[in-house]
């Protein structure tokens, strides 16, 4: 049997690599219409003509020089893993820019197949590309494809198999002008002496990278061959100085200029035919002129976000009610069918109230994700980043920090874990740290149910408005904390921000539904597994140890006493028994481990109006924020005695004497800003390279959130005394 073939999908950001990867492997990797979605390489498999193919999706890059983490990941894979074939996914509608990377693949001498993606978009723009002519000019197979629909993908795989079967190509030799070429010739002997490096990289390519001042290659050369390395660096510096004096540019600008010149010469040799004039503005540019306008742009952005919240909360209220009724019915059914005991208590208070409390928010999550998918797939989110960039700079963050913020829940519903990971794209360590310490302040998908629950219970008349305000508050606090960090612990200059904006695209219904369903399914899966486990654990913490026999006997004697004294008055008896049962349940909860923790914390939390039962939920929220809703569900259902009057958690909180709008606002603020969940903390430790920052994040956020909650509560009760 033939060995499995390894192919790497490489290309510019947003060229459609992940779309092709999903089509080839049947995976559902996240694809977004903005650069930087894929930071790590992803793997999948497929079968073509009976041959197993391992497909590796690399992060999008503009060049093979180590300017960013994505470029390093991609280059290291190509050099160290040596895939059988590199499929360079090229956006046909933006050929010139995309061929710049292809040019570097040719110089590196990797077995290359060019997938000319989005030819339909190019044709709509009046650009036709002669794939055969391009193939003969570059000397590698060029296959037109449409990755979205899968058109041409079989032909692409045929070309991949044929390329894998042929001999490894020689690196292409490009000329870079007399100064650079002379320097490369002079460096030949010293490069040849660096045997450790020449075993991995082509000689001329090494010379070019040294001239481009590629940090990784310079370091490797000096480490492996210090003597030859110093000579090479000295030669590069002399060329650099000469070019600076004569042309006022660094060698990399001259190299890039010659590469673009080479590409232009190819394109102008009958490869590209344009039906329209070259400087014609496309629809995307025309939209941008309005959508990113300095006055209209922010207004449109605020309007779009407000519409998203209105759409989510208006249309999802009916299915949310259905689900609430369904879980209430289920709870009543279980209560009627099963005999009293710990199992029934666990099913009702642990499973149904816990998991049901989280699942009840699925319609809201689904509508919110659909809206976000629409903005993301259309390319609008990248424009949001462009418009937010200036504000971010003012607060000491980088333009690239916008995406981690949005991914983490900048538009409520994201997740801090990928947000923290997306901060890798930042080059400056201080800006990266400031970003990954502040992204957990965003309203992630796990906080969304808690916010919806409390806003629904106490501010139901203006649900969308309050959600919108909570998002603005999250942004404001995160940015202010970032500014504080950048002025104190993380002082340092800002680095410039340059980002390519993807063109606007019409999102496909299929794509929108896949994105919505994938994210919703993740939420449901988490509710059915992690949240279920934690809910049961917390239910056990809130049930055990049970009341001592003496206390149980005391309540039994109270019941008997009530029966004897109120034998004739049936209504009075029922009320008295109900009160005894409620007192017993409350006493039991206070006696349990969870109750004791909650009571111990109440000494401090009462300054923010937070009672001991809510404390149990907040402690559970360290494990996962979704657990807050399920724990509140369990804590507030334990005192319930009449199964005929099963009410939703929202109604229970609304009726509870310890809760009022001021307490709700203080609790909301605390939940929004206190310690990130456990997984995010681990991720911060990994990304920052130190547990010190993870501990800082937990401690700082909790103290900050507590001070904010106390301030809200104390001012609130002064303004609105009970």
């Amino acid at each position: 049997m033939e060995p499995v073939l390894t192919i790497a999908l490489a290309g510019n950001p947003n060229a459609g690599k992940t779309t092709l990867f999903n089509h080839l492997t049947g995976a559902r990797q996240h694809v977004g219409n903005y650069p930087g979605i894929t930071v790590e390489q992803k793997e999948g498999c497929c079968l073509h003509q009976g041959r197993g193919v391992r497909v590796v999706d690399l992060p999008g890059t503009y060049s093979l020089t180590a300017y960013s983490v994505e470029e390093l990941v991609a280059r290291d894979f190509l050099v160290n893993e040596q895939p059988d074939v590199v499929v360079d996914v090229v956006d046909a509608s933006n050929l010139e820019r995309n061929l710049y990377l292809s040019c570097q693949f040719l110089e590196l001498g990797v077995p290359l197949v060019i997938a000319l993606n989005m030819i339909d978009v190019a044709e709509k723009r009046g650009v036709t590309i002669d794939a055969e002519a391009l193939s003969s000019r570059l000397g590698v197979p060029v296959v037109p494809i449409i990755a979205r629909s899968g058109k041409g993908v079989d032909r692409l795989l045929d070309a991949v198999l044929a390329t894998a079967a042929s001999a490894r190509p020689h690196p292409v030799f490009l000329r870079y002008g007399s100064d650079i070429d002379q320097a490369l010739t002079d460096m030949t002997d010293d490069i040849a002496a660096c045997t450790e490096l020449t075993a991995v990289y082509p000689q001329r390519w090494l010379g070019v990278k040294l001239l481009e001042n590629d940090e990784q290659i310079v370091r490797k050369t000096l480490e492996a061959h210090p003597e030859a390395g110093k000579k090479l660096i000295a030669r590069c510096e002399s060329v650099g100085q000469h070019l600076q004096h004569t042309l006022g540019v660094y060698p990399e600008a001259v190299i890039a200029d010659h590469r673009y010149g080479y590409i232009k010469s190819i394109i102008h040799q009958g490869v590209v035919h344009r039906k329209f004039v070259a400087d014609r503005l496309y629809a995307s540019d025309k939209i941008d002129k309005v959508v990113t306008h300095r006055i209209l742009g922010p207004l449109i952005m605020a309007g779009v976000l407000y519409c998203l919240y209105t759409f989510t909360f208006s249309y999802s209220s009916v299915p949310v009610e259905w689900l609430e009724k369904f879980f209430a019915l289920l709870s009543t059914g279980v209560d009627t069918l099963l005999p009293d005991g710990p199992f029934k208590s666990m099913l009702i208070s642990g499973v149904i109230d816990g998991v049901g409390g989280v699942l009840g928010f699925v319609p809201i999550i689904m509508f919110m994700f659909f809206g976000i998918a629409l903005l993301e797939d259309s390319g609008y989110l990248a424009r949001v980043a462009f418009m937010m960039d200036r504000i971010f700079h003012f607060f000491g963050l980088h333009g690239s920090s916008v995406m981690p913020f949005i991914i983490s829940g900048g538009i409520a519903g994201g997740c801090a874990v990928p947000g923290v990971m997306a901060a890798r794209t930042l080059r400056s360590p201080k800006e990266r740290l400031a970003t990954l310490l502040t992204v957990p302040f965003m309203n992630c998908g796990a906080k969304l149910p808690v916010l919806t629950l409390l806003i629904g219970a106490f501010f139901s008349a203006h649900q969308a408005r309050y959600m919108f305000l909570s998002t603005l508050a999250a942004w404001l606090i995160a940015l202010c904390v970032a500014k504080l960090l950048r002025l104190t612990l993380l002082k340092g200059a800002s680095t410039p921000f340059v980002m390519e904006l993807p063109p606007y695209r019409f999102p496909t219904l299929k794509g929108l539904f896949i994105h919505t369903w994938e994210r919703t399914w993740q939420y449901i899966k988490k509710a059915g597994t992690v949240i279920l486990g934690i809910s049961i654990l917390i239910w056990a913490m809130m049930t055990y140890p049970e009341l001592p026999e003496a206390r149980v006997a005391h309540y039994d004697s109270l019941r008997q006493e009530a029966r004897q004294t109120l034998a004739v008055d049936t209504e009075g008896l029922a009320a008295a028994l109900a009160k005894i049962d409620t007192d017993k349940a409350q006493d039991g909860l206070r006696h349990s481990i969870g109750g004791r923790i909650g009571l111990a914390l109440e000494g401090v939390s009462r300054y923010a109006g937070i009672d001991w039962r809510t404390n149990i939920a907040l402690v559970g929220g360290f494990a996962a924020k979704e657990v807050i809703v399920s724990t509140l569900g369990t804590a507030y259902s334990l005192g319930e005695v009449d199964p005929e009057e099963t009410t939703s958690l929202q109604e229970r909180l609304d009726k509870d004497p310890n809760w009022n709008p001021v307490v709700a606002l203080a609790v909301l603020a605390f939940i929004m800003f206190y310690s990130p969940c456990f997984v995010t903390v681990v991720c911060i430790a990994r990304e920052s390279g130190s547990w010190k920052w993870a501990a800082f994040s937990m401690l700082f956020n909790t103290v900050f959130a507590f001070i904010l909650a106390v301030a809200i509560y104390q001012i609130g009760i002064l303004l609105y005394p009970r």
Binding site: N94, L95, V249, V290, M387
Partner: protein
Amino acid sequence: MPGTRMDQSEIFCHFFSDIQALCRRRRQCGKRTDQTATPLSESCCHSRMRVCAVTGDRQTCARMAALGVLPGSELELLCKGGGRHCMIKVNGGTISLDESAAAAVLVAPA
């Protein structure tokens, strides 16, 4: 000649623009025609330009060069954001530059 006639979208965009700022920029543009190079951050909207120099740290210059923003290349300033950060079209792609990056690109009318 490219850039001298406004198409419909430009008229629409100008219609919504802050008139005062627009007039100020036009005056400045008139003055700049005889100057050799001005930073992109201070250039007028919706015009074609040629890059004269890219200043700043070496890594930023290299990254800009990889994106096609290098001396001699032609670009079109599409839109300006709230401040001096801007959106340009170069080699068929749209690139956003923040204030410091835009200030590092010196341009002259194409």
